[in-house]
Amino acid sequence: MVAKLTVALQDDGPFRLDVQLSCATGEILALVGPSGSGKSRVLRSIAGLYRPKRGEIIYGDEVWYDPAKAVNLTPQQRRVGIVFQNYALFPHLSAIKNVMEALGDRPPSERRARAGELLDLVNLGGLEDRNPAELSGGQQQRVAVARALARDPNVLLLDEPFSAVDKATRQRLYRELADLRRQLRMPVVLVTHDLDEAAMLADRLCILHRGRTLQEGPPFDVMTRPATPEIARLVELKNTFEGRVLEHQAGNDRTFLGWGPYTLETTYQPNFPEGSCVTWTIPNARVIIHRPDRPSRGERENPVSGIIMEFVPLGDWTSVAITVDGVPDSPLFMTVPTHVAHRNDLATDKRINASLLAKGIHLMPLSHEDEA
């Protein structure tokens, strides 16, 4: 069945909720936000475990929740599969019995075979008779996934399912979920506070902050073109600065932006009138260092110069922050491959030149931190 999940939720009071989102069949929607942003509450509302004051949850043409019409389907009626952060396995039942409990709709004679198939699907063949305590964190997560899928759920809900396992296991589970999702024919909502995880797994990303959905879209768009400075901060865009729109040139597809002593070229972004103050941002990866030994054409694109103030190798990648001449209070961050950093002898206090790629510069309204 092809059906879409549409969710609108409102709650007042200290734990305010104002959420709108939708998720289509076969799509993974990542709900991202810091802890306390209300992510889990949204997920629990979809599952029927929490009742917000107002709102509507619709799956296909079924209304699951509408307090105005006194509609509230039970979790049993909604048929959702849910994987909790700590998995919430039944500790006294073996892996296969955990899964079999979710197969109550099937004739008893089929349950064991079907549960076995599901455990094979999540690569747990051979461990059917172990109790949860005898399984590793990653294996427990797989049991929870198999159990959530057992009912052929309408919607699959994943509540930070990767947060309780070590990094190596997490990487393996990511790959498994990516494989598994090709077989999933349902909307999948993934709650996470990890942006990289969301970008890797999700088709769309929804930013949640203080109970409000702020922006929804493909992960790359949201993470490089945030609608507001607040979202830029939430998607960890460190290069967020203030500037002034100098001129628009529609014909050239160019907007010119004043930043300290520099005039930066950006793509045409006419939403902001000439002369207005804006916040602008550029992803670290769109700041390119110049190689002193081999000048290239790209160097003409928004060149800036500065002193390296911070140099942090992080394995394959190195994070570099420079103090740009003329704008001393605004460190510019970039990420360069570690071998490039070595080849160019990058080090603290060295002077380097860099280009801000025009395509990467994104304008936003001025920040209103106090408004939130």
Binding site: L49, Q76, F84, N86, A88, F90, P91, N131, R147
Partner: protein
């Protein structure tokens, strides 16, 4: 050895457990998971038998259930017999004074079940009854068992309340604890000693069963 008294005590203990098992499960689940008005008051009322002198508790039960009370009169009118100074009255009293011994361990046991586990069960499509039977009771089992053992041992040994509500009618309301007192009053230490030894063995067996059962359950869950 006063066999009728021992049998009466065992019968009272078993019936108390039978009556309190469902009451305890219902009450302790509510107290463990629900929030409702006057919850504190209910908790205090349930704990009262722990601190109230047994004779005082027995006195109030006697007044409440006695022939002059509405409850006593109603009982007499329906069943044609008195509630006090009978086995029925003993059972009612026993259920009341054992409530905290049942509710406290059971409540702890139900509280120890993570809410997500019950939520996961609901999302698995399990009905409330099936969740109780397949998930909650097996997980709360050690607490339920220790509640029942406490009730059993406590009922066998209870003296003050039983004497107040039941009187001391041989074969009817004379429990073994009263019989022991009776024998000591009559300087029959041999009989009192024998009965005391039997009670000691029963108590040790009860504790032993609890430990054995809970530790094996514990191993299974860890």
């Amino acid at each position: 050895m006063n066999w009728p008294s021992l049998i009466l005590s065992l019968k009272l203990a078993v019936w108390t457990m039978v009556v309190l098992l469902p009451i305890g499960i219902v009450l302790s689940r509510q107290l463990a998971w629900r929030r409702f008005p006057a919850k504190g008051l209910v908790e205090a009322a349930l704990a009262l038998p722990l601190v109230l002198p047994p004779t005082v508790l027995g006195f109030y039960i006697l007044i409440t259930l006695g022939g002059g009370s509405p409850i006593g009169q109603f009982y007499d009118a329906v069943l044609g017999r008195s509630l006090v100074f009978s086995f029925d009255g003993l059972l009612v009293a026993s259920v009341i004074f054992n409530l905290p011994f049942v509710v406290l361990p059971m409540r702890r046991a139900f509280e120890s079940i993570p809410p997500e586990v019950r939520e996961a069960a609901a999302c698995c499509g399990m009905s409330a009854g099936r969740i109780l039977w397949r998930i909650e009771l097996p997980m709360a089992w050690p607490g339920i068992l220790s509640a029942l053992v406490l009730t059993f041992a406590h009922t066998i040994g209870e003296f003050g309340v039983v004497l107040m509500v039941g009187g001391n009618i041989p074969g009817e309301t004379e429990t073994i604890a009263i019989a022991i007192y009776d024998r000591v009053q009559a300087f029959d230490n041999a009989a009192a000693g024998l009965m005391s030894a039997v009670l000691l063995i029963v108590a040790l067996a009860a504790i032993g069963i609890t430990y054995a059962a809970t530790s094996s359950v514990g191993r299974r869950n860890i």
